[in-house]
Symmetry: C2
Subunit: 215 residues, 2 copies
DNA sequence: GTCTATAAATGGATAGAC
DNA sequence: GTCTATCCATTTATAGAC
């Protein structure tokens, strides 16, 4: 045993790393499937059997990675939140002089693109077991806080420079932007078959920032 | 048997009417419970047991009135559609000279009031059994058509008089108004505990028609 | 038409072999 | 960690007495 361990010491670390990579890759595939199903049918209608079938592993194996259906969904929510933060990181590298309101529009556009791509997990209404699982998930809550803070800075900046309506409470603006991520209008217009994704996003972005009334 | 039937002929019609009234009242109570639960937790999370418990009758009795859970939900959707049509009837009695855009605002306001009152049943995402049940329900589809037509008339009229942005496709405006019925921003703001229902509705109505940007 | 009791199926979660 | 097989609670729906 000892001699074997001494025989291949340089093999061991790569092997562990490889296994760990496989492990992460598998979990990533699981989270991707959950993310897709969550976007397609929501938490209640999604079944763990479906997730297992889509990933191509047994249901029991899923539970070796995630202890419950709620944790499964929470992992998907955390990941989309991380994607959002990564996008915000990119936006911060925008050329100096970029108006904060344009940053907000870019964020809204991104969330709608994600939704149209079928990658935006939909949150359950309220009073759900998932809801409590999320509020006790540090990674999710921290991510949500981070995103809110960054958007909040742009909101107050836009109101200061006069481009965003200063009469609106910043929190109302924040919630309005968040709500674009699950706006059913995108799906409605998509279902009409009359518009491209680009046109749909431009339309909703326009009604969101310019309003329905003429300017 | 015959003599009995002849004995109380004037009693029979009132008795049938009374029974029919009781029947309708019972069904109305059922639909009310379904409506409330549908608004609170959605179709998937709502159980027929809950409905029976809330109404105070046995589950089997429910199935004597409605053949399936989908029909239960469809009845609730039809009723809220009928309520909407009744409200539209009232709006048509508005004083001559009322601007069509103000009619549209009144409709949006009404849908948000219904949602804040916890009486707006939430539709399932897509690909649901309820979805197909609704599309094959004549009462629902007809009601939806009627509402769409009436709103459509006001939309084109508002675009004609220049108050509504003429660059927007009428169908996009229609969907945007429909979407206010399930806008999560209302619940978010309500949950913040900082605003009254009146203030919340004014805020969302403002962002919907005036947009987020300054005017 | 209302009830109690139960069927039939589904879905979340686990046991235990490998 | 993956599998098969299973447990157990829940849920939709029905049977059959009254």
């Amino acid at each position: 045993m000892v001699s074997v361990a001494l025989k291949a010491p340089i093999e061991t670390p790569p092997k562990r790393s490889f296994r760990a990579q496989m492990h992460l890759a598998r979990e990533d595939a699981i989270v991707s499937a959950v993310n897709r199903l969550l976007a397609e049918k929501g938490f209640d209608a999604m079944t763990v059997d479906e997730v297992a079938a889509e990933v191509g592993i047994a249901k029991a194996s899923l539970y070796k990675h995630f202890p419950s259906k709620e944790d499964l969904a929470a992992a998907a929510m955390v990941r989309v939140m991380d994607r959002a933060r990564a996008f915000l990181d990119k936006l911060h590298d925008a050329p100096a002089g970029t108006r904060p309101i344009d940053q907000l529009k870019a964020v809204a556009r991104w969330t709608m693109e994600v939704q149209l791509a079928g990658e935006m997990p939909s949150l359950p209404s309220e009073n759900s077991t998932l809801r409590t699982a999320l509020t006790t998930n540090k990674a999710y809550v921290d991510g949500l806080m981070d995103v809110s803070d960054r958007l909040g800075a742009w909101i107050t900046a836009s109101q200061a420079d006069g481009s965003l309506n200063p009469g609106l409470p910043p929190i109302a603006v924040l919630y309005t932007l968040f709500a674009r991520a699950c706006d059913p209008v995108l799906g409605f217009l998509k279902g009409s078959g009359q518009y491209t994704n680009e046109q749909i996003i431009d339309l909703v972005l326009s009604t969101c920032f310019d309003g329905l009334q003429s300017r």
